[in-house]
């Protein structure tokens, strides 16, 4: 739940933390972010990757730790076991107008041992990384598996995966930890200054850099080191209409990505901040939208969140099988609909891809040690596949996993998490200007705003950052107070036009929430601008 109080009281944060934001993914602001920080963690030694560099440990030292885990687990009855050593670092800087709000640098190091004893999982973890502690946790994990097996109806089976000895890193051009914090502060203050000069009354901005280093070793012989980086920078100018006391804001439209500090230099922040201020002013005096059915053109900066909620979540196999019924919810896309459900119009092709460039869910291997891949989820409008892990895949008769296992830290059990899922561009060349010129009467929406969707992912309601009226092929002016509400199936079947690949844009979130205990996961969704016919438009002011 959002909190309106500016009083910075740490107790409040604790009291309200762990909100059921959930399951919704994309929680921007609010407690998930605070949870992310408390789960995340860091110290700022700027050395990176080389195996164990930051721990003063050699490859042999790590091999020894892995052998200890696997040997001890085997001796205690495990048919399968793996060790994950993780170090998560999380650096954040935020500023408001000309002042720095917060600088923090967190680090978390520990390990988890996962075992399968007679078809039942066990898992134990600790922040104390040494041989004794690893042996102790391996035994505890096996004890738990044995005790819990009284509740196991059908033994867990894992689909086959080849073993790998490999290392994989996010291709980062500038290591964000090599840039001093003072430079990061300078850039934020510059952003806020641009906004203020352009006429914003307030502007807040932040930079986050996340580094997730992990080593995975399994009893099947895999030994995989990965070094993942993510970055997000955003500015949010606000303008106030002194006459009415109304205020309007518009965030920069960029999304987080798997990139290094080059992310800060590549996005045209200065230009987008000026546009944000101008358009926030324009929004204040714009007419309030009239309710009713209208055609919509959704820009990818808005559509990514709709894809996330209405295609990403319902095609998670664990949700469809009821594993998340106690928290995030279930799915209307049940296994009997696989290969049959006309999810969307024939234009709709959704591809899942954990190898996509800059994708937040992109990596070499998942936390089952399976090599990542790409596959179709929706093909020519038909629902054709789910997201899977090694233990979920056999439940729908698949003999391989799509590498979707992920744990957000060393102390969490890996669960099925969303790959990057993206709407494929149309095959005929079409720019957004072409699409607008072919449209008689519609609303164009840019940027993501608030969202709400039910626990089975049928009904949704989304807002945005900018709303433009399209009349007879032209943008005629801005609107405000717009929300669109729909049913997943009707909505995607009403899509009748897609732009081509030149308009492709990658959106995404660092904070998709799921599972008990709660875990966050980063994921990207790309798309092109798309047109939807006769969608229900609500006026957010008249709902009150």
């Amino acid at each position: 739940m959002q909190n309106n109080s500016n009083e910075s009281d740490m107790n409040r944060r604790e009291f309200i933390s762990n909100s059921a934001a959930g399951c919704c993914g994309a929680v921007i602001g609010g407690n998930i972010i605070e949870n992310a920080f408390s789960a995340g963690i860091i110290t700022g030694d700027s050395s990176s990757s080389d195996l164990g560099n930051f721990l003063n440990m050699t490859q042999d030292d790590f091999r020894k730790l892995a052998d200890t885990a696997i040997f001890t687990a085997g001796k205690n009855g495990a048919g399968y076991s793996d060790l994950r050593i993780c170090r998560n670092r999380n650096q954040s800087v935020s500023a408001r107008e000309d002042r720095v709000q917060n600088i923090s640098d967190n680090s978390s190091l520990g390990f988890g041992v996962r075992v399968l004893v007679n078809g039942t999982w066990g898992f134990a973890s600790s922040h104390l990384l040494n041989e004794d502690s690893i042996a102790k946790m391996s035994i505890l994990a096996c004890e738990m598996a044995k005790a819990n097996s009284i509740l196991q109806k059908t033994p867990v089976e894992l689909v086959h995966t080849p073993s790998y000895t490999d290392s994989w890193s996010t291709p980062v051009r500038i290591n964000p930890y090599s840039i001093p914090i003072s430079e990061k502060i300078e850039r934020l203050l510059e952003f806020n200054n641009i906004a203020t000069k352009q006429g914003a009354n307030f502007c807040d901005s932040f930079m986050w850099f996340i580094n997730e280093w992990k080593l995975f070793a399994s009893s099947e012989g895999s030994f995989i080191e990965q070094d993942l980086y993510r970055a997000w920078v955003q500015a949010n100018p606000t303008v106030i209409d002194k006459a009415t006391g109304d205020f309007g804001s518009r965030k920069t439209l960029n999304a987080p990505m798997s990139k290094g500090f080059e992310y800060v230099n590549e996005y045209p922040f200065e230009e987008d901040i000026r546009t944000a201020v101008d358009n926030a002013k324009m929004k204040l005096s714009a007419p309030s939208v009239t309710e009713g059915k209208r055609d919509l053109i959704l820009h990818p900066s808005n559509l990514w969140l709709t894809i996330h909620e209405s295609c990403g979540h319902p095609t998670e196999l664990d949700r469809a099988l009821g594993y998340e019924a106690n928290y995030a919810g279930t799915s209307f896309m049940t296994t009997d609909k696989l290969g049959k459900l006309q999810y969307g119009s024939e234009l709709i092709n959704m591809v899942a891809d954990r190898t996509q460039e800059f994708g937040l869910a992109t990596r070499g291997y998942d936390d089952d040690g399976v090599k990542t891949t790409e596959w179709s989820i929706i093909k020519d409008g038909v629902f054709v596949d789910y997201q899977t892990t090694r233990d979920l895949a056999p439940l729908i008769g698949n003999d391989k996993s799509y590498a979707c296992a992920y744990a957000d830290n060393w102390n969490k059990f890996p669960i099925q998490r969303m790959p990057n899922i993206s709407l494929q561009p149309g095959r005929t060349k079409k720019s957004i200007d072409d699409l607008i010129s072919e449209t008689e009467d519609a609303i164009l929406i840019l940027g993501d705003g608030s969202w709400s969707i039910d626990m089975q992912r049928y009904n949704f309601q989304f807002t945005g950052q900018e709303f433009w009226e399209i009349k007879n092929g032209k943008k005629t002016g801005m609107l405000k107070d717009v929300a669109y509400q729909g049913n997943t199936i009707d909505f995607w079947n009403s899509c009748d036009a897609l732009c081509s690949e030149e308009e492709y844009f990658l959106g995404g979130s660092l904070f998709c929430g799921k599972g008990e205990p709660g875990q966050i996961s980063p994921v990207s969704h790309g798309s092109v601008p798309a047109r939807f016919r006769q969608v229900n438009i609500l006026n957010t002011k008249s709902q009150i």
Binding site: M1, Q2, N3, S5, N6, E7, D9, M10, N11, R12, F15, I16, S19, A20, I41, T43, G44, D45, R99, V100, S104, D105, S107, L109, G110, W121, G122, F123, A124, S125, H127, M137, L140, M144, A147, N148, L151, Q152, K153, I181, L321, G322, Y323, E324, A325, N326, G329, T330, N411, F413, I415, S450, S452, I453, D454, R457, Y458, E516, P517, I544
Partner: protein, 445 residues
């Protein structure tokens, strides 16, 4: 890792010995946590974790910076301290900076650590919930759930010599049972410091009954109905309101609790006179930490008495600036109930809607404190003093103030877990309220 009072004190002393800052505050949190999850009446995963986080905030004059790590090694502890100091030096002066508190604070007694909970081994967890899975199986229901136990501590120390320590245990049982056809669903979610208060078998029986009752909901039009909100739903309403009960936002005219340009609404009767809410870390049913994250004592505080607003939480900075007392955010909340059961409330209702839970609550309008959300896991039409039949879910748009003002009756209070604040220590009654605004139908189950 669960550190004792003495061990934590020594560790904090060591951390502070590395400090070169003008002032610094160290917080260490840690403990052991175990959980199991199940779905479709079978176990899915389990986990046990040994955690420790060490955080330091260093200050140079009015500049602050922080850093944290999970380490216990001297060299890395020193590195965390240095990092926080570097961050502080880079930070400009804060206009709202407050010096760390002086030593010699006195804290209320709070017993939140129970051997009964701490002694449950990770391997004992399965047997605790086996009855739940069997009950679901026997009634042809699908149970999905989560059971967690923790032992934990928090220790705080600063360069003025302040030191505070609190340990606690936590046991939470949350389970959803759905009918095989997917048209019915019910959930129960409870947590206690003392696991002996967690009657898992009894809760499981109640859950399976309610799940069967919720099958095949009929259509009920949206609108304003007399509503009976079960404890869990009330928990979300009350905790949802607390975030807004800040002195500063009231003084600055940004809140519902602002009084037309002249201060705040303390002393005003804003709610039904049946509403009495206080916080007290020493409460036996919902014990809580008796100090804030910076070591200030959290004492017994009345927030609403006989419907009259008594207090708004006030930060140290705002208290000093506005010449008031510092009123920290509470660590628990207790709303008094009456000596009645939920069944009594239903029996006295001619026509109404019984809501078991809310879900996905979001703020719509801050000034009016308007919230929106969905009902979930069982909604029933009440006719002539009994549950007539299950009905569809709704989206609602309501203000917690309206709900607490339109109370007709209430049940006895229970410690429950809401959908939005799963770690909150909250004791609330079920409420019967007039004219609850169900705005649209939601087809999801």
């Amino acid at each position: 890792m669960l550190l004792t009072d003495k061990e934590a004190k020594e560790l904090i002393k060591k951390v502070l010995s590395f400090s070169k800052a003008d002032s610094a505050v160290v917080t260490i949190k840690g403990g052991n946590s175990s959980n199991i999850r199940f779905a479709g009446n079978s176990i899915t995963t389990s986990g046990s974790g040994d955690n420790l986080t060490l955080e330091i905030v260093s200050n140079f004059s009015k500049k602050s910076g922080s850093a944290s790590n999970t380490t216990l090694e001297d060299s890395q502890i020193e590195e965390v301290v240095r990092n926080s100091e570097e961050n502080a030096k880079l930070s400009p002066e804060s206009k709202e900076f407050m010096l760390p508190l002086n030593s010699g604070q006195s804290y209320p007694k709070s017993k939140e650590f129970f051997e009964s909970t701490a002694s449950l081994s990770p391997s004992d967890m399965a047997s605790s919930v086996s009855y739940t899975l069997k009950t679901a199986e026997k009634n042809d229901l699908r149970s999905t759930g989560y059971f967690e136990t923790d032992e934990a501590f928090t220790a705080i120390g600063n360069t003025n010599g302040l030191y505070a320590y609190h340990d606690n245990t936590f046991a939470r049982f949350a389970t959803t049972m759905r009918t095989q056809d997917g048209t019915g669903s019910s959930k129960i979610d409870r947590s206690f410091a003392d696991i002996d208060n967690l009657k898992i078998n009894e809760l499981s029986d109640r859950l399976s009954e309610r799940s069967l009752l919720s099958q095949n909901p009929r259509r009920l039009e949206p609108g304003k109905y007399t509503a009976i909100l079960d404890h869990t739903a009330v928990c979300d309403i009350v905790t949802g309101m607390f975030g807004y009960m800040g002195m500063r936002s009231a003084d600055e005219g940004r809140s519902f609790f602002s009084f037309n340009g002249k201060g705040n609404k303390i002393g005003e009767k804003l709610f039904s006179e049946m509403v009495n809410i206080h916080s007290d870390p020493s409460d036996a049913l919902a014990p809580a930490r008796p100090f804030t994250d910076y070591g200030f004592p959290v004492s017994n505080t009345s927030w609403i008495k006989d419907g009259v607003l008594q207090n708004l939480h006030t930060s140290r900075y705002w208290a000093e600036k506005s010449g008031r007392q510092h009123v920290p955010y509470p660590t628990n909340l207790i709303m008094q109930g009456l000596n009645k059961s939920v069944e009594d409330l239903i029996a006295s209702t001619e026509r109404g809607v019984f809501v078991t839970r809310f879900w996905y609550i979001r703020s719509v309008d801050q000034k009016q404190m308007l919230l929106t959300g969905l009902t979930r896991d069982g909604v029933f039409l009440i006719e002539n003093g009994r549950l007539a039949y299950p009905v569809n879910n709704f989206r609602f748009n309501e203000s917690p103030v309206n709900v607490l003002d339109k109370i007709i009756d209430m049940s006895s209070a229970e410690k429950v877990v809401g959908s939005e604040n799963i770690n909150a220590r909250t004791v609330v009654p079920a409420l019967k309220v007039r004219d609850f605004n169900f705005s649209t139908i939601s087809d999801a189950v």
